[in-house]
């Protein structure tokens, strides 16, 4: 829960604020998706199929899904789109035809500040780089960091939470105490202060090459500090799941604990995991933006939405060129909002007990 609120300060939407007050409410029985506990692949398919069926019924859910797909495509197609516009995110153009050089040095001249046929979103003040290309490439960086760090947290949270719930006893005690600790830490502060430290260490490894370094370190740090909340939820689900007949059946056929854990237990909690994964993505998007904004994440010349916000604040450019703040700001808000609404929809679809609207 601490994580939830600490990233909230980071401008992150907390995963499921609606449920924040009553974590215990989640720990009630898995009797939801696939009560028979059949084979894993069939389970996973029916889960997604159920989700899709329910999402299709809600206008907001459908709209947010479309928005998320469009944003992803925008980022994936960044090279093609910016080639189409004839620009790239790194070439600067400080010629006096583009940037003012006497009244406010560096400020784009009116024809270049705002969208035009040549520069679809205008150019940056200071260096005159194309804003559209930077926004698209920045999306690649921001979304890659958010998705990969979510993946790291989800794998850690699912495996550790399931192991704690399934094995119980000492394993549970140890993992649960670690979860408590992780939840007690002031997240943003710790992430903020550890990122430069991690970067200095990664510098000499294969991960430390150029623009790759900040991305790798953000993925590791955000992933490593984001698993505890999910683990707690998964543990609660598994506690009751492990008492079910199909687990006993699998054991009596001679399946090992590890096999039961990965083939019987974990497939049965995928619904909850999917819900929390969807909610963790916008949190991590905001966290990347926050860290890069603070100057410890992605740094110029590599673009990311947080780096662009940082550029807008540095030198107070946003005061003379508000458009420069509006572009990454609006993109960030729309993206986080779309993912949040999609997260709510996925939760309503897969975890009806948790939906309390």
């Amino acid at each position: 829960m601490t994580q939830l609120q600490s990233t909230a300060e980071a401008g992150a939407a907390s995963p499921s604020p609606a449920s924040a007050g009553t974590p215990a409410g989640r720990n009630s029985g898995p009797a939801r998706s696939g009560t028979s506990g059949g084979a894993a692949p069939a389970e996973a398919r029916s889960l997604l199929a159920t989700a899709w069926l329910r999402i299709r019924r809600s206008k907001i859910a459908l709209l947010s899904l479309c928005a998320v797909v469009a944003i992803m495509l925008f980022a994936i197609l960044a090279p093609a789109l910016s080639a189409l516009s004839g620009n790239d995110p790194f070439t600067s153009n400080t010629s006096p035809e583009v940037l003012d050089d006497f009244q406010t040095p560096g400020l784009p001249l009116p024809g270049y500040m705002y969208p035009s046929a040549q520069h679809w979103l205008g150019v940056e003040p200071g260096l005159g780089r194309d804003l559209f290309a930077r926004l698209a490439y920045g999306g690649q960086v921001s979304l890659t960091i958010a998705l990969l760090s979510t993946a790291v947290s989800v794998v850690l949270g699912t495996v550790l939470g399931a192991a704690a719930g399934y094995f119980g006893g000492k394993t549970d005690a140890i993992i649960s105490r670690i979860m408590d600790l992780f939840l007690a830490f002031p997240h943003l502060l710790l992430v903020l202060s550890l990122t430069p430290i991690l970067q200095s260490r990664l510098r000499d490894t294969p991960l430390g090459e150029g623009s790759f370094l900040p991305m790798a370190s953000l993925v590791i740090i955000l992933g490593f500090f984001g698993w505890a909340y999910l683990a707690r939820i998964v543990r609660g689900q598994v506690l009751s799941l492990r008492e079910r007949e199909f687990v006993e059946a699998a054991r009596s056929f001679g399946a090992s604990h590890i096999s039961v854990l990965f083939r019987q237990i974990i497939p049965n909690v995928m619904g909850v995991v999917l819900v929390y994964a969807t909610m963790l993505i916008p949190t991590n998007i905001s966290a990347e933006a926050a860290l890069s904004f603070l100057g410890v994440g992605v740094k110029d010349p590599t673009p990311s939405w947080g780096q662009m916000l940082n550029a807008a604040q540095s030198g107070n450019w946003y005061l003379s060129d508000p458009w420069f703040l509006a572009v990454p700001g609006a993109m960030l808000i729309v993206t986080v909002l779309a993912f949040n609404l999609l997260g709510d929809a996925v939760r309503d679809a897969l975890d009806p007990k948790a939906s309390r609207h």
Partner: protein, 333 residues
């Protein structure tokens, strides 16, 4: 009650020790070499070695940790043999950058952070709980839908964007408020409470927009749930006025999750609103931590992180105690 408090205090001490130990480990044994960071730009291997001795890093790790913790209880000597200086109680080490006692730096930053926290807290609790309650009472109405929609947008507004937007509009364009100044850090200063409010109003709003959104959602869902419970029906059946039912019965029972959030958020904010302080250049704990983190000033980041964790953990215990006072159904065992 007494045993409950004693037991919570016991686990509190354990948790705090664990948090301090882990933070210390992460920072001291963590990937970067603190000695190299302390020694600065033009560093030779010999000077790193000297710095290592000066920082006590030639000692076994547990000795370092014990030394550090001892500083919490008494003054201690710091630095290389021959060049030692006193680090007054409470000693949290000395800044690599300015050689200032970290406790003094924290003492200087804390009033700013408090100023930020107090106003934002009042603003978002009043608006969040108020609007959430209103939405719950008018469930399904256009008012409700509007509030819920606004809350969905609110949780998606990143602080850097709202903060800079507020500065742009209200300070730069409309000239309604001044840029924040370092000179005001309490309502009781020479400039008076009005200047204090004017100085911190925008940071408060930036924080409150985001936080009140989650308070609206939590208040609304919990109040709706509570209003559906049997004891509310009983209270209505007894012929109590709607006002009494809503506020004396409903709110008391339905507000506990909000108290949990509030406790955590207070704990969190006391550790510094990192982004907001940075945007509005308020030199509180968060601002100080960012600059220390960027310049590799480990003692400062370490101490602020520990202090922030301390606030969060203590807030948790206070929340548990507050539960019993608010909700008559809660009994402490």
């Amino acid at each position: 009650m007494i045993t409950f408090i004693l037991r919570r205090a016991g686990s509190l001490v354990l948790l705090l020790t664990a948090v301090s130990f882990i933070t210390f480990t992460l920072f001291q044994l963590g990937p970067a070499d603190p000695a190299a960071a302390a020694c600065g730009q033009e560093c030779t291997p010999e000077r790193v070695a000297e710095a290592r001795v000066a920082l006590g890093m030639d000692q076994p790790f547990l000795v370092q940790y014990a030394d550090y913790m001892r500083g919490l209880f008494s003054s201690r000597m710091i630095g290389a043999p021959g060049a030692q200086s006193v680090c007054e109680w409470p000693c949290l080490g000395k800044s690599f950058q300015t050689n200032e006692n970290v406790a003094d730096i924290i003492g200087r930053s804390l009033p700013y952070t408090l100023s930020m926290a107090v106003g934002a807290l009042v603003l978002w609790t009043v608006s969040g709980v108020g609007l959430g309650l209103l939405a719950a009472l008018r469930k399904g109405s256009p008012t409700d839908k509007f509030i819920v929609g606004a809350a969905s947008v609110g949780v998606s507004l990143p602080i850097p964007v709202t903060g800079l937007f507020l500065l742009l509009v209200f300070v730069n364009q409309l000239h309604l408020l001044p840029f924040t100044t370092n000179e005001i850090n309490s309502p009781f200063g020479p400039q008076g409470p009005l200047a204090w409010v004017a100085n911190y109003l925008l940071p408060w709003i930036a924080l409150a927009v985001l936080f009140s959104a989650s308070y609206i959602r939590v208040t609304r869902t919990n109040m709706i749930e509570t209003f559906g419970e049997d004891f509310i029906r009983t209270a209505r059946a007894k012929g109590l006025t709607p006002r009494t039912v809503t506020f004396k019965h409903g709110v008391r029972a339905g507000i506990t999750p909000v108290v949990t959030m509030l406790g955590m958020d207070i704990g969190l904010l006391l550790g510094g609103a990192v982004l907001t302080e940075q945007i509005f250049s308020v030199p509180g704990l968060g601002f100080t931590a960012v600059h220390a983190a960027i310049s590799g000033d480990l003692p400062v980041t370490l101490a602020i992180t520990m202090l922030a964790a301390f606030f969060v953990i203590v807030a948790n215990v206070v929340v548990d105690l507050a539960y019993a006072a608010i909700d008559p159904r809660v009994r402490l065992q």
